[in-house]
Symmetry: none
Subunit: 141 residues, 4 copies
């Protein structure tokens, strides 16, 4: 008999911790963010839009989180390969639309198991990435 695969999945408690840590980082940076956390299948688990954060970032934060989980890569790393002349040029048209600039990260356990993804949008891509990093780290701390 074929065996089912054993996997791990982000819990709501972990996802909420990630959102709160990303928001705390945003406060520290003096910016307002949209923050999305998805499970290992790319499905939304938790979301928060800070007061004053861009409406356009609701969608971008979710696409960043989803892009990160679809390939187990930081979104910015995908973007480096998808430029004109690059090996993955045009990949952003797949999967209903990817976001390939920084701000999306896989969330992984210490043993490397990817349990979810986080996407942050609302400021510069550097700020977005810093907040995503804070959130991803806190989820599994």
């Amino acid at each position: 008999m074929a065996e089912a695969l054993a996997t791990r999945e982000i819990s709501l408690a972990q996802a909420t911790t990630a959102v709160q840590a990303a928001a705390a980082k945003a406060v520290e940076l003096g910016v307002t963010m949209d923050i999305a956390v998805v499970d290992s299948g790319g499905h939304l688990k938790a979301f928060a839009r800070m007061d004053g954060a861009w409406l356009g970032s609701i969608d971008i934060a979710q696409r960043k989180a989803r892009t990160a989980i679809l390939f187990h890569f930081p979104t910015g790393a995908v973007g480096q390969l998808s430029q004109p002349g690059g090996p993955l040029y045009g990949i952003e048209l797949s999967n209903g639309g990817l976001i390939t600039f920084p701000g999306g990260l896989p969330i992984a356990l210490a043993d490397g198991t990817v349990i979810g993804g986080i996407g942050v949008s609302g400021s510069t891509v550097e700020d977005d990435h810093a907040c995503a990093e804070a959130g991803a780290a806190a989820a599994v701390a």
Copy 2:
């Protein structure tokens, strides 16, 4: 000089309170829910999927919240008018897809000002509605 309109908008603190109150009601009922809160423009403000809640309810909870804000009506009230032969038959095809069964409610201040909407999905429509009611009430308590 023409005056801009004064509006009121749900805050993230209120939206988080709504999500937590709806989740607490779900725990009381022994069910797991997807819970979405949108602002007065129908844009996502906060979301949580309880551990074990249906994946299909991620979309439905958001559509319920959005449907409630689009017409300032409980979703179930829209559904009573959209049955075959009813005055709004087929309205669910508008606006990219509405959900017109119970579980979505406007969130309003005591003076009647609608500041957002909540949508809950994950159990019977009666349970969904009860959790939405708990969330909407808590947001402005």
Copy 3:
């Protein structure tokens, strides 16, 4: 520290077994089918279109499998609740389009853990359902 959730996922070996068992049932019934198997997140794991099977069933088989996993219900059970006047009237507009007639089933381990879903389309809904049942059973036999 919050814990990740432990889950189980259908393997390709199990999915292939499901497809083959559904196809064998179709041969027994003298029909040709489109057969899709998705994982517990609703993502395609295996697919086969038997020679001569309808092109229109490629999409329907996949939507049936996805509908079954989104709510952990047989698609036909969803359809009984989504008729005019029913509690879930119009639910098929959610999640990018559901199929709510028979032919889609969750695939579950003996302990009830849902590890995937199967959708079959290509004949009557009775035939579709019978083939889905054969596939779902074989996957975990």
Copy 4:
């Protein structure tokens, strides 16, 4: 009387052989792949996602197979013409979204008749292409 055109079409047996040969090549390369085979009309015939392969490659593998059949070209050859300044710049926006980097190939009989297409995604474009080549060759061997 006008004559209908004689065509040849990939069979499920051939498509299954292609999927298995592509997967065997992936095992040889030490990677995990999503593998899609479409018929000469671009419609899905067979699909397999190896355990551990990227979720984002489900869509990409299918788009590669479809892109290859839409123009009877390897996807990488289309990509060389679609760069900024190239004669087909932007072609990836057509047909609901093409993938124009390597990993998609037409499947042709010895006399040149194209009977289907294969798309592979899950690793570098070089690995993807190598697996697609193995699959396309095996289908008609």
